[in-house]
C-alpha cells in the first residue's frame, strides 16, 4: 500500500468529518483547520511507514485534537484554560482502536452538517460561501481557489478571512439542532453545493489550474451529505441532478469551444455510469410522494437522458414535472422552461401565452428572448421574432450564446 495517491484520497475523504469534529472541540475554524493540518503532516509519514489506519478520520481527529491541545497549552503557559489531556499520546500508533472508541463520534452527522452550514451561512454572500467551503471543507489552497475564480490570491485571502469573521460573529450554536433547524441547515447547504456546481459548470478557463474540478467536488460533497442523510429526498434529488447534468459535460462543448444544446449533443460522449447512478436515484424519488424542487429538476433531466434521441423525448411527462415544479418552487424561469415543453406538446401559441406575462420580470434575461423569438418564428411572426432575437444577442454573456441565436436568425431568413 505504498501509494501516495491513496493517502491523498484518504485525507481528502476524512477532511470534512475530521475538521467538523475538531470544530466542535475547539469552536474555532482556524484552530480546527490548523489541527487537521498538523494531523495530516503526521499521517503522511506515519501512514507511509505503517499503512493507513482502519478509520482514517478517527485517527486524524484524535491526533489533530492532541496537536492543538499541545499548541494551546504552550501558548497559555497555564493549563487553566484547556482541558487536561496529558494522558493522551499525541500519536495513537498501533493502539488506535481503543483510543478511537473514546472519541465521541455519535454526533458526527450533525458535526459535518454544522461545518457545511457554517460555510453556507445566510450571512455570507454566495461567492463567499463557495470560497469558504472550498477552503475549509475541500481543503483547496487559497491560491487554487483564487485561480478558479480568476481573482488575485490576496483578494481571495481577504474574501475568505472576511467570511470566517462573519460566521464567527454569527455564532452557529453547537448544540444538536432540532428537526426544523436540521432541515433548514440541509436546505442552505444543498443550495451552496448547487452553487458550487454551477460555478464549475459555467467556469471559463480558471478551472484548469485547479487540481479538482469544482463540479466533481460538488458531486463529492453531495454524496457525502447523502451518505449522512440517506433518506432526505432533496439531497437525493440534488445528487441526482448534479450527476445527470455533469454526465453530459463532455458533450456540452464542441471542438471549437462552442456550446452545444441538448438536442444536438453527441450522446456517445455522455458519461453512462454517472447517468445510471442519477437515474437510480430518480427512480427512488419518483416512488416516494415527497419529491422536492431538486428532485423534480433531476426527474426532468432523467426524461431527457432516457430518450433515445431528442425526437423521442417524452414531453408529456416533462410538462407534468414542470407543472409540479412551478407549484413547488414558483419562478418565472421555471415557467419559461415549462413553456418549452408546452410548445413541443401543444404548439407555440399556447407556449407564447404562458410566457408573455413574464415579459417585464424576465426582460433582462437572455433565454427569455431566445425562447420568445423561437416561438414567434414558429408562429410565422418573423419581424417580431427578429426583434426578440436581436434583444437576446444584446444580452448574451458569451460569444457561444450569441452565435446560437444567430443560427436561429439565419433560420428565419431562409424560411
Amino acid at each position: 500500500m505504498n501509494d501516495p495517491a491513496w493517502i491523498d484520497a484518504a485525507l481528502a475523504a476524512a477532511r470534512p468529518q475530521a475538521v467538523a469534529a475538531l470544530l466542535r472541540y475547539f469552536r474555532d475554524l482556524d484552530v480546527a483547520e490548523e489541527a487537521f493540518q498538523d494531523a495530516c503532516l503526521r499521517a503522511l509519514s506515519r501512514w507511509n511507514e505503517n499503512g493507513p489506519p482502519r478509520d482514517p478520520a478517527a485517527w486524524l481527529i484524535l491526533v489533530g485534537r492532541n496537536c492543538a491541545l499541545d499548541a494551546l497549552r504552550r501558548k497559555a503557559k497555564h493549563e487553566v484554560l484547556v482541558p487536561d489531556a496529558a494522558e493522551d499520546e499525541v500519536d495513537p500508533g498501533a493502539d488506535e482502536t481503543e483510543l478511537v472508541e473514546r472519541l465521541d463520534t455519535s454526533h458526527f452527522r450533525d458535526d459535518v452538517l454544522r461545518l457545511l452550514f457554517v460555510c453556507a451561512h445566510p450571512s455570507l454572500a454566495p461567492t463567499q460561501q463557495v470560497a469558504l467551503a472550498l477552503r475549509v471543507v475541500s481543503g483547496l489552497s487559497v491560491k487554487e481557489i483564487a485561480s478558479a475564480f480568476l481573482v488575485s490570491e490576496s483578494a481571495m485571502e481577504q474574501r475568505i478571512t472576511r467570511a470566517k469573521r462573519a460566521v464567527r460573529d454569527a455564532e452557529v450554536p453547537f448544540e444538536s439542532p432540532d428537526a426544523r433547524e436540521r432541515s433548514d441547515r440541509l436546505e442552505a447547504v444543498a443550495a451552496m453545493i448547487y452553487l458550487l456546481f454551477n460555478e464549475g459548470y459555467s467556469a471559463s478557463g480558471g478551472e484548469q489550474h485547479v487540481r479538482v474540478s469544482l463540479c466533481d467536488e460538488a458531486v463529492r460533497l453531495a454524496r457525502l451529505l447523502l451518505r449522512l442523510f440517506v433518506a432526505e429526498p432533496e439531497i437525493q434529488g440534488l445528487l441526482a441532478l448534479l450527476l445527470l447534468q455533469h454526465a453530459r459535460a463532455a458533450a456540452r462543448v464542441n471542438a471549437a469551444g462552442e456550446a452545444v444544446l441538448l438536442d444536438q449533443q453527441d450522446r456517445g460522449l455522455w458519461d453512462q455510469e454517472a447517468i445510471a447512478e442519477g437515474l437510480a436515484l430518480v427512480d427512488k424519488l419518483l416512488r416516494a410522494d415527497t419529491i422536492g424542487p431538486y428532485g423534480l429538476q433531476a426527474a426532468i433531466a432523467a426524461v431527457h437522458v432516457r430518450a433515445r434521441g431528442p425526437e423521442a423525448t417524452d414531453w408529456a411527462t416533462i410538462d407534468r414535472l414542470y407543472a409540479a415544479l412551478e407549484t413547488a418552487q414558483p419562478s418565472p424561469v421555471v415557467t419559461l422552461n415549462h413553456a418549452v415543453a408546452v410548445s413541443k406538446l401543444r404548439g407555440p401559441a399556447e407556449a407564447l401565452a404562458l410566457i408573455e406575462p413574464l415579459a417585464e420580470r424576465l426582460d433582462g434575461y437572455f433565454h427569455f428572448h431566445g425562447v420568445r423569438g423561437a416561438l414567434l418564428g414558429q408562429l410565422g411572426r418573423t419581424d417580431d421574432a427578429r426583434d426578440a432575437f436581436g434583444r437576446a444577442i444584446s444580452l448574451a454573456r458569451t460569444p457561444a450564446e450569441a452565435a446560437n441565436i444567430r443560427t436561429h436568425l439565419d433560420g428565419l431568413k431562409s424560411s
Binding site: A13, A14, R223, R227, A276, E277, A280
Partner: protein, 122 residues
C-alpha cells in the same frame, strides 16, 4: 466448489479518488480479472453503485421498503441474487416475492454500475 469473493472499502475514500487514480486502479483490476476469466476461474463480477443508490426491504410481520442501504451489523451477509429488470418497480416487486417467503432479515437492492459475465459457471 463455487466461491463468492466480496469487496469492502471506505466509500468516502473511493469517492475522493482522482479520475486518474480511479482509472489506473480499474485498469489494473481489469487486467487481472481478464486473466482469471481466461484461466477459467472467474465467473460474473461487477461493481455496485454507492450505498446512496440502495433501497432496503426490511422483513418483519409486513415488508417495509426503506430508502438507503442495509445498516445493521448484527446480521450477516448470506446470499445474493442478480436481476435484470427494465424498471426499479419491477425489481422491487421481484425482490418482494422473495422477501415474503422469509421470516426475518432484509434484502438490499443495489443497482450495478457495470457487470461482466466472465466464464459461464457450471
Amino acid at each position: 466448489m463455487l466461491y463468492a469473493v466480496l469487496c469492502y472499502s471506505q466509500e468516502a475514500t473511493v469517492a475522493s479518488w482522482t479520475k486518474a487514480k480511479e482509472e489506473d486502479l480499474m485498469h489494473r483490476l481489469q487486467v487481472v480479472q481478464e486473466k482469471l476469466v481466461a484461466d477459467g476461474q472467474l465467473g460474473p463480477h461487477g461493481r455496485l453503485m454507492p450505498t446512496t443508490a440502495a433501497t432496503t426491504i426490511r422483513i418483519g410481520r409486513e415488508l417495509a421498503v426503506v430508502d438507503g442501504p442495509f445498516a445493521e451489523t448484527k446480521e450477516q451477509f448470506l446470499g445474493f441474487y442478480l436481476f435484470d429488470c427494465e424498471t426499479f418497480e419491477e425489481v422491487l416487486e421481484a425482490a418482494k416475492q422473495l422477501a415474503r417467503e422469509r421470516e426475518s432479515g432484509a434484502l438490499e437492492i443495489r443497482p450495478l454500475l457495470h457487470y461482466t459475465p466472465g466464464r459461464t459457471l457450471a
